[in-house]
Symmetry: D2
Subunit: 342 residues, 4 copies
């Protein structure tokens, strides 16, 4: 049975697992000097249509922290929303590893808006205050919303005008690209993003995260920071080998289309039920749904869900690359049963 707790609960897409197996031949240079890593690097350049520098790491937190700390001096700060993963879900990794302050502001529908950033510009040059240097957004956001291409471009322009960089936490970047019927190039390269945490794990990879830098001068020291950040894998080929079919055979797209579609289907089925309210404008694979309090207990027993807001009784439902119509239907059927009883 598939759950809707998180796309992290899913396994690995069969063609990616196959690629891992196929790379298990003889000896290969370690630490990323192997031919699979070389190939994967080339594929990143192709899909982004840019001469990017790519650093594979083992999870999304590492992609964010190694990358951000690489952009920041210890007295410089990153600006993000209060709900940003780097702010609430990484156990203070940036503060500890980078020594950097995170300047968080209230989110607007999950997003960061320029008006909320402007106040920090007053700190520039004042030795008593951390210096704002990176704007970080999550695409798709932690609240399931999606920045438009224009919004990203405006943030990048604002950042560059003010001597800052734009970082995108793309743990679910494929879902965003698919939802907006866009491309990695159009959404990231062309908007002027400086640094991307490219997530694959939540979208059908086993361990697949990459730091993608659009400014090689800026990231020239990332190799040291990755190692110092305990993120340099010896048998790197087994990460790289996953990215090859993921990018070359468009598994990223195939998987994201499915999870987005399943989320849409789930939404359509839920929003017609009495007592149920969809709380976010999701186009991706994350729904926030208000349900009657009486459903909580039976639901947790049968279909464990993440009760994200106890007061309002809002649950989070995440679909995955392997979610099927049948998974949705058994969930909806169960919900309907609850609906008739409670």
């Amino acid at each position: 049975m598939k759950m809707f707790l998180s796309d992290n609960n899913s396994g690995v897409h069969p063609r990616i697992l196959e690629s891992i197996s196929n790379s298990n031949i003889g000896h290969e240079p370690s630490y990323g000097e192997d031919k699979y890593t070389e190939k994967a690097n080339e594929l990143f350049k192709e899909v982004f249509q840019a001469d990017v520098a790519v650093y594979f790491v083992t999870n999304g937190t590492a992609a964010n922290i190694v990358g951000l700390s690489g952009l920041l001096k210890p007295f410089e700060a990153v600006i993000c929303t209060d709900t940003a993963h780097i702010n609430v879900d990484e156990c203070g990794a940036l503060e500890r590893f980078g020594g950097n302050k995170i300047l968080y502001v209230p989110n607007r529908d999950g997003k960061l808006v320029i008006d909320d950033i402007k106040g920090f510009l007053n700190s520039i040059g004042d030795e008593h205050q951390v210096q704002p240097r990176v704007i970080s957004i999550s695409q798709i956001t932690e609240l399931g919303t999606i920045y438009t291409i224009e919004e990203i471009k405006e943030l990048a322009d604002f950042a560059h005008t003010n001597n800052m960089f734009l970082h995108v936490d793309g743990a679910r970047i494929s879902n965003a690209v698919v939802a907006l019927n866009s491309s990695f190039k159009e959404m990231i390269t062309d908007t002027g993003v400086d640094l991307l945490s490219f997530g694959g794990t939540k979208n059908g990879m086993m361990i697949g995260e990459a730091i993608v830098s659009f400014n090689k001068e800026l990231s020239k020291n990332f190799k040291y920071i990755r190692k110092q950040g305990m993120q340099l894998l010896s048998k790197m080929r087994f990460i790289s080998a996953q990215f090859i079919p993921y990018l070359e055979e468009d598994i990223w797209k195939e998987n994201a289309i499915n999870s987005n579609n399943m989320s849409k289907y789930l939404k359509e089925e839920l929003e017609i039920l009495p007592g149920v309210e969809i709380m976010n404008k999701s186009l991706g694979n994350i729904l926030f749904v208000k349900i009657p309090k009486g459903w909580n207990r039976p639901l947790q027993e049968e279909f464990p869900v993440y009760l994200i807001n106890e007061k309002e009784n809002i649950i989070r439902l995440v679909t995955s690359f392997d979610t099927t119509v049948e998974d949705i239907e058994s969930f909806i059927n169960y919900i309907k049963k609850l609906s008739s009883v409670h």
Copy 2:
């Protein structure tokens, strides 16, 4: 063709790869709440015959740093040899992540001896100096030598007598256990080791490192430190699934026996050659070999090796779980050819 550059160049043992595949079924709770992790944890308790707390991480550096920084306050220090992996091969990870000083002393045949530690005891209580708190040794050492059970016990006793802990960097712990015809219990649990970095990657796993704590009170906060150290994997089951056959089916032993035996064979074949000198008392899978300078260029072309000491022209040869008699023989044949020409 197999190389002797490092045991990191090898791939994954087929039964371990199979276990990964077999765990790729449906959804599982993420971040280590899955059934594979539970099983793997139990197996660690069995092989060590102790109620250990186990934390899976993605590489040896992470096992060392998350564990050590968990034992240390920022003003406390770890004592090790100048050649220790934590001292020279981790790009200053402990200094950065933990803020801790590493007090290194000259190695004696790769080992740390108590007489070289005693001087640091004078610092205890002196606010001007870091406080020595952990003794860290590598088993097998970076120079391929192996601590005896008695030596480990003495170091542990010395540590405990002086209010310190003993940490073992066990990147190649299986090779040591096999070489001494010992057991994990006898070598680690019974000697009083407090914390072990248990390495599997160099011995046939894909990504398989574990922090093994013998003092649950001491490691009660390790879960936060692992997350803050960017080492908590979402799809943890794919790490845990590797440890199951590794421990349950004694793949650790099978693999270490092979690499040790191959190293022994390599040594026997090399030491009878004129101009060749075995430099270390290896019982494990690492040889340091002095060769004539004239061999360097042709050897690097055919059989890339790690020239570890340019002045003395010493190379390092590491055998792996998958090294075969044929691999040794083709290497030796090539060496013999060189020997006849240069």
Copy 3:
């Protein structure tokens, strides 16, 4: 001419300077082993009527950061207001030196209220999130308001009930004690404060800040942290010698009475002027005053003030231990002149 920019702009009270001179006799043990430090430590025990441990440092930032980082493990966090000095005026010192996250919430009239802290309790035990461990308040607050004795006691009780500590940033603690007609014992010791940054510099000392710990077990390692935090002075006697008359001769009280009284006088004179609005409920020595925009330029030329809110045109006026009735009157006269012209 005295300014109202900050109490930092004032000099040193003559009796404190005299005490420095008087301690300049011959040789004394360094690093705080001298007789002046011993005496000052005793005086702290007297005025707080508690067996406190005292650590002298060189500024308020140091008192906050050495103390807080001493209470916190790197994955633990401090909760404070958005306006807290540790959050906005210390250039990210806690994040860098301690690696700790600061969880800031909107202030309520400069204060932290328990309802705004409760949300963080949900993080306890969750490895993905920093663990809340210290509640930090400023007395008097950065907005010039003052916590009542009852409010401090409630915060301390709430902290202790939830396995947390209460820290008070007392850069202007003397002004608070005087304003509430209280005592150090009643305001700090009896309410259950765990750690106090005791400020003297803003109240007539030259360099006079002390970390006062009410829990010796908790602060037993502070001596190492102070040294590692670059705050151990060799000629410590010249700091300690300042604290002796400050505490023994009640210079702290004499000075705070004057600055509070001068602030009150300033307020009375200002609030009757047309176009002027007092923005805070100050009982101490800090006023926030809304003035007509037209006054900005001439005021900055004659009496430089800190324009703290450009949009609302609010200035901050701080009185000092050495502010005189004449200083207030010449300022008010000038304001009246402006008032008649603009």
Copy 4:
């Protein structure tokens, strides 16, 4: 009675104390915007005959750590001797605040020699290892020896040739300049030193340390690092005011001449005594002296000294700016008494 424990035990030169008093007039801008700081900055430019950037801090550890961490990225390292103050006497401040590794090598008579540095050049470009970036020497050294002008120049040239910087820990820089009959310009500016920790406290100041940067581009962010490092004093004028007579009236020279001369006199008196052996080639104010073990107890009772090497029974004797001929004579007389008895 004056002791020979450390030059830190001395007090403040009367003209420096007078300058502090004289600067205690009215209000001054805080945090170094005052006129005394401006004047002191100008004086530094004069004595070094260079357009230096100067940052006042409160102790020698702070001067070293704020400066060094300003030159280093966290994965970069500093090379020094095993006896360097930054390595053994700062409680791991650089490791914690900067996250930097210290690469220490055995000292040669207290000094760092180029041959011992060369090995670290092999690490350059290797992501597994910290990158050597700063060479740090102490002048005079912790063993009382003094680098010649030529030695400093060679170290600076070697550093620059290898893309590194040269830092001088000048806690006792005035004693060195006087001993070699040199000048700050000749010893520091002209040799190519990049960064100097300029020490005044041990030479008659109260709290007087300065970071002197010879490369403004390199130190442009030091103001943030000083604040983040808790070293920005609000009432800065009282530090700056000390430097004015120190530099303008050559108190630095007057004081260093006295302590050096007293050390020389002490040496001459000691070396003729039976059973006494001078252990270092001191030209400055630090002597290491081997004495008979029987003297320890009576000496500690009458003239506490620092027993620096218990095994060899070597004591350290430091003379100060205020040491008098009478101080030496009473010490020598006492020693002679001991000599006759034990």
